[in-house]
């Protein structure tokens, strides 16, 4: 077992290979782009948010490494149906998880598979790229 096996768990590889919500939204209410010069990753995140602040649809496009693709994919799967406030909370939790802070992992659900990325400072940006774009799209 090597140090990186923990980063490339099968669920990440699976999301890399078959990313969820990898498409465009016809008339997104919010959208933003992210770019990571290290890996050349770039991601476009689009959202359709209800008047009551519920994320009705969320999708992404772009290219990048497995970590960034899988992260974007799992983010969309997680956030669909959540409120924007919940999205913000998940962002905070996810960010804390990756930067090695003490964190309640329960609300993060499957996202905890990214904990291993925290060991690799140069790759943390890959995992948070789509999340930062999502947050920027929502205007925070």
């Amino acid at each position: 077992m090597s140090a990186t096996d923990d980063m490339y768990q099968s669920v990440i590889i699976d999301h890399d290979r078959s990313p969820r919500n990898f498409r465009h939204i016809d008339a997104p209410s919010h959208h933003a782009e992210g770019h990571n010069p290290l890996c050349g990753d770039n991601v476009q995140v689009e959202l359709l948010v209800d008047v009551d602040g519920k994320i009705r649809d969320i999708a992404f496009q772009g290219s990048g490494c497995a970590i960034s693709r899988a992260s974007a994919s799992m983010m969309t799967a997680t956030l669909k149906g959540k409120t924007t406030a919940e999205a913000q909370e998940l962002f905070d939790g996810f960010h804390a998880l990756l930067t090695g802070k003490q964190v309640d992992t329960l609300p993060l659900g499957k996202l905890v598979v990214f904990k291993g990325v925290g060991e690799f400072p140069m790759r943390v940006k890959c995992a948070t790229l789509a999340w930062h774009a999502m947050r920027e799209a929502l205007g925070r």
């Binding site: 090597s2 140090a3 990186t4 096996d5 980063m7 490339y8 590889i13 290979r17 290290l38 890996c39 050349g40 290219s63 990048g64 490494c65 497995a66 970590i67 690799f120 790759r123 890959c126």
Partner: protein, 401 residues
């Protein structure tokens, strides 16, 4: 060949808990103990500012600095030590030439200069020309990663201000036919700037045989310290060039109305230079010159060939750069796996390779790639290193296939 591993203290360190397999010498070389000791010794027993001190420490530091310049001249076969300018590295060398030489090379002087580069150039040999206001046009690269010399001839005939070309490509490993290119360029009156950053650590360099006008390389890639490098230039060019940076040591007389400048090469070395760096650089070049160079070259070639062959056997792996004349650099891609993921997984095995565009974005675009993985070799690498790389790639393939 003498086993050099014991001379490199870093090879005893672990990477991610595994023995270090360092295959990123093209990014920066590791340092032999003699170089590390030379730097410590300088700071411990010989540190002083140079040139203007009359006391013994300063005298010794000045002599050490001069000796380092002589060592650089010897390394590239330059007959005149004053043709060697100390710079931070290859990048600064190119910027110096772009600032101080390019304007007077422009033909006609009234038009924005055109610098002929190649599709395989490092950003250090593209962006400085652009910042200096030049248009860069590029000699095409074939699919194997060689220069299209017919195109080069046509493009030289159009009369660019300058030909700026890499000696050894940091991505493809290709060794370009510099002597031939210089003859072609000079036939059209075009001066030639050579980026020797990757050649200097791998192949003997002789500027007289190459016939170029400028030659640049970096200490940190030739087993020396960071923050220093050399630009060699023909005396006549240096004499005609305007100063680059201003400050102490590069002047003769300073007044608020008018300032006159020192002789070359000091005119181009403003301020307190990286004295300890030059000393370490000199020791590193001496260390290289003391190697059995044909044996080292043969050893590196063997490692590269073995790696190329065995990597090619990994399903989905494609080599990037298969020129007939190559230095010990092997770049590749793996279907279905992003180069950064490949590098991260190899990192888990203690294998250090580089992933990305290696500062050659235009080359990657030309080859239809967004990035690649690169393994590069040094004299201390051995077949065990190649084995670790190949084994690692089989593992990566299994995960991503």
């Amino acid at each position: 060949m003498k086993d050099l591993r014991a001379e490199f203290p870093i090879l005893a360190t672990l990477s991610r808990g595994k023995p270090l397999v360092y295959l990123d010498s093209a990014a920066t070389a590791q340092k032999p103990q003699v170089v590390i000791d030379a730097i410590s010794d300088f700071y411990s027993h010989g540190n002083a500012n140079i040139h203007r001190g009359v006391y013994q420490l300063s005298e010794r530091a000045t002599l050490a600095w001069d000796a380092a310049r002589e060592q650089v001249a010897r390394f590239i076969g330059a007959p005149d030590v004053n043709e060697v300018v100390f710079v931070r590295g290859t990048t600064e060398a190119m910027n110096l030439v772009a600032h101080s030489f390019l304007p007077r090379a422009a033909r006609p002087a009234s038009r924005a200069p055109v610098v002929l580069v190649t599709e395989m150039e490092h950003h250090a040999n593209i962006v400085p020309w652009q910042l200096a206001g030049a248009t860069t046009i590029a000699i095409p690269v074939t699919d194997a990663g060689e220069l299209d010399l017919d195109a080069a001839e046509r493009m030289l005939a159009e009369g660019p201000s300058l030909l700026a070309v890499v000696h050894v490509s940091n991505t493809l490993g290709t060794i370009n036919p510099i002597a031939q290119l210089c003859r072609m360029a000079h036939a059209h009156g075009v001066p030639v700037v050579v980026d020797g950053a990757q050649a200097a650590p791998h192949i003997p360099v002789n500027i007289a045989e190459l016939g170029c006008d400028f030659y640049a390389f970096s200490s940190h890639k030739t087993f020396g310290p960071t923050g220093i490098g050399a630009l060699w230039a023909k005396r006549e060019h240096l004499e005609a060039m305007t100063p680059y940076q201003g400050g102490g040591d590069m002047i003769d007389l300073v007044t608020f109305e008018r300032t006159t400048f020192a002789e070359v090469p000091r005119r181009f070395e403003a301020g307190t230079p990286h004295i300890a760096g030059a000393v370490g650089f000199g020791v590193a070049l001496k260390w290289i010159m003391a190697l059995d160079r044909p044996a080292v070259e043969a050893h590196e070639m063997q490692l590269m060939r073995t790696a190329s062959e065995q990597l090619s056997a990994v399903p989905g792996l494609r080599l990037v750069g298969t020129a007939a004349q190559k230095a010990a650099v092997v770049a590749f891609t793996l279907d279905g796996a992003h180069p950064h993921d490949v590098a991260s997984m190899l990192d888990g095995e203690g294998v250090c390779v580089r992933a990305g565009h290696h500062c050659t974005q235009p080359l990657h675009k030309r080859l239809g790639l967004s990035a690649s993985v690169r393994a590069s070799f040094a004299p201390f690498n051995n077949h065990g290193d190649v084995e670790a790389l190949v084994k690692g790639m089989h593992k990566v393939r299994k995960v991503f296939a």
